[in-house]
């Protein structure tokens, strides 16, 4: 049998290559890179975003490229400074959700039996709770702060990941290489960490990306509803204040379009990046891409049967 010879290994180099090859992935990486740069370096170029710098509700002008909000604060400064808070929380929650999901899902799938029973019931309970309404209720009771938003999102978001990871572990546990590891006398911990987890890396990466998109969206939603700390500057609180100042009614689009667009762009970039990671997890996709390009260059679409493409070098 022929094995596809695609990008092998999961080293950073091969990931970078896969992203580079995939034009969508490359674009996603560029979008995210730009946001990361703004999040890291942006605040150095702007003063206090809460400073009252101009006449309230001023449309974009040269000194204030994105205008001012209802308090007379510079929208661009808020947008740039808010990037750090919004992204940090989004990625932190995304990672935490996946970590918690793996911590529950991997043992459930691997050990089975009573361990699986307890952990599965635990995650099923969280699955049947409606996520966002629960998040709103919890957030309303806890003191408003970024930490509250993060905790609420992690608590309501991890269960699906646990379920996916459990199924994946169940499938991997039956594979011959795991049986071989058991026979070779490897400990459970080593089998979990060295044999099973790396095989799931692509699933976990996809989960981090998906969960981060969810976390950023949900965080902005909670803050928009006023359940975050409205005195801190982030994309969500910008939208909250835009709503508070009736920006939609007065037509002050510069207050809500920029943060909304940023949320959409980050989600877009992450989703595009995911397609590159798909290819890493499934080398066959990379092979098929070359094959499809080869067919397309001869004006052919992929078929179910082996194509006959004559006259090529």
């Amino acid at each position: 049998m022929k094995q596809p010879s695609g990008p092998s290994g999961s080293g950073l180099g091969s990931w970078a290559r896969a992203i580079h090859r995939d034009r969508k992935g490359l674009f996603g990486a560029c979008v995210l890179g730009a946001f990361a740069l703004v999040a890291i370096a942006g605040p150095w170029f702007f003063g206090d975003p809460s400073a009252l710098v101009g006449i309230p509700l001023q449309p974009p002008t040269w000194p204030h490229p994105l205008g001012t909000n209802g308090q007379g604060q510079d929208v661009l400064a808020q947008l740039v400074v808010g990037t750090r808070a919004s992204l940090l929380l989004g990625f932190a929650v995304g990672l935490a959700v996946v970590l918690l999901g793996a911590l529950v899902g991997v043992p459930a799938g691997y050990f089975g039996g009573r361990t699986d029973g307890v952990l599965s019931i635990f995650s099923n309970v969280f699955l049947v709770l409606p996520g966002l309404p629960l998040a709103i209720v919890i957030a309303a009771y806890l003191p408003a702060s970024p930490a509250t938003v993060a905790i609420v999102l992690v608590v309501t978001g991890w269960a699906w990941n646990a379920r996916v990871v459990r199924s994946q572990t169940l499938a991997l546990r039956r594979r011959d290489f795991v049986a071989a590891a058991v026979v070779a006398g490897e400990s459970d911990v080593r089998i979990l960490l060295v044999e099973i987890l790396p095989s799931m890396l692509s699933v976990l990466v996809a989960q981090v990306i998906g969960s981060t998109v969810y976390a950023i969206g949900a965080q902005v939603g909670l803050e928009f509803l006023g359940l975050g700390d409205v005195s801190r500057v982030s994309w969500g609180t910008m939208l909250y204040w835009a709503q508070n100042d009736s920006a939609l009614l007065t037509g002050a689009w510069w207050m809500f379009v920029p943060p909304g667009l940023c949320v959409a762009l980050v989600g877009f970039g992450l989703t595009l990046l995911n397609s590159a990671f798909d290819e890493i997890s499934n080398p066959r996709l990379a092979l098929e891409r070359v094959w499809r390009a080869h067919l397309a260059s001869r004006g052919r679409a992929p078929e179910r049967s082996t194509p006959v493409v004559r006259n090529h070098a």
Partner: protein, 319 residues
Amino acid sequence: MPEPLLQVRDLCVDYITERGPVRAVDSLSLDVRRGEVMGIAGESGSGKSTLAQALLRILPPPAVISRGTVRFEDRDLLALDEGGLRGLRWTRMSMVFQSAMDSLNPVITVGEQIEDVILTHTGATRADARRRAAELLTMVDIDHHRLDAYAHQLSGGMRQRVAIALALALEPGLLILDEPTTALDVVVEKEILQQVRSLQARIGFSVLFISHDLARMLQFSDRVAVFYAARLVELGPAASIARAPRHPYTQGLLRAFPRLRGGRGESASIAGSPPSLLHPPTGCRFHPRCDKAVPSCRERTPELIELAPGHFAACPLAK
């Protein structure tokens, strides 16, 4: 001479890779006559399985058939559309895969699986299909009561027999056996091959038998084709090749098998390893490993030369 059942001319199959196309079957011309067992021998990666799957047009991406013609029972296989191929697969040309015994559905009885094949492709009634399924099982020496057995209740050899019964269910003209006995022990292997041979003699279908076991193949086939690095290097009647292999590669392969009767000669191996098809050697692809190679082997691609009636070898030194 009557029209052959399968006529392959100048067939090329490429795998499209990022570093360019890799030719896995290179300019192959081959006939399979009606009612004969044609053996295809070669080591892993020599293109024999690729050929089998290319005939049925079931090669997965990134494979592409890039040249040649394949005629089978008055049909041009490379010109058929999906509908035409569906009408051909299994009804006229069927295949037993290397791991065919694992291709049985674990939750459906083997009887139902055979019946399903018959019902899908013919207008038979359930009762007719069941009768035919029982007949097919008996044909491969499995008690017809086993129709109601599940795959896990059968041994590996029996499952492989069921796979063969499945492949013969629609009375195809050509049965492709792609290393059908690799996962079985030699005793079972021999039984199954003998059974295929006797069924073939009785029913009259042709067999394309793919294996890396040249010695087994020489016993079992009428004619044998030897592949090396995507090319046909020797083709001839099994008896003729067994007696006097002409190509140095075939000679090397046969020397590698110990003989039961005969001298105490060393069983030799062929030095080196098969070449990368991405950068195959120039000229004769076997020249880097050939102990008879002369400088011209590096430059000229050898043509197949008829050295004895029906016996061809792609080596100018074999004359």
